[in-house]
Subunit: 134 residues, 2 copies
Amino acid sequence: VTYYVIFPNANNRFTTLENIAYPSGNHVFLDFWEAEGLTDANFIEQALCNAAEACGATVLEIKLHVFGENSGITGVALLAESHITIHTWPEFAYAALDVFVCGKCQAEQAIEVLQALFKPATVKINRVMRGVHE
Amino acid sequence: VTYYVIFPNANNRFTTLENIAYPSGNHVFLDFWEAEGLTDANFIEQALCNAAEACGATVLEIKLHVFGENSGITGVALLAESHITIHTWPEFAYAALDVFVCGKCQAEQAIEVLQALFKPATVKINRVMRGVHE
């Protein structure tokens, strides 16, 4: 796997938020190239569930939109702690995901699960801290 | 309004994507402090519609979750061109939004509409280019 990690710390882990005033959260962006499963709605729904569970979040609802047979899928897991979204372009073997979780949820756990499922050959990881003036 | 713009260009406008290979998109993050309307589901639904329309996007579906009376709201507009999300913490007069639009949609038009509606006193704008190895 080729990684482009834009905002790592020394260990490629994300800042935990226990010492930062609420509300704040890690908003993480994943670009997956040469990824698998991008036209499979059942697989994507399960992936969103697994990612939410892995980072300690609670799923409120999952919505998927399938653009057509063998076409892209757009989906969101609304969480009690914010959201996970996915947009796939199977014609480019590309998917754009984001994981936004507040409080003590561990966004990096979701990243590991999503990578293991979609098996991208190239990954870009980016992060924005939300709720703080930085 | 106090602005913290993390990724501006010379004019505080976002790069247009006409000359960049598809799929790619502008993913923009808005942190609004001292904002209005954060407990009003009808207002938020209309704001998501207006923002999508302003940037030239097509709404597939809007989902809102209201955490309780006078409590926060989590919502998403699934777009043909990706998504707009919002999470509000009225107890802090704070909202976290993101606008992810691909192709020729103009994310900055959505920003202007959202600011005009929620009337935040402080705004942080951040941006990540999706679908490119930068």
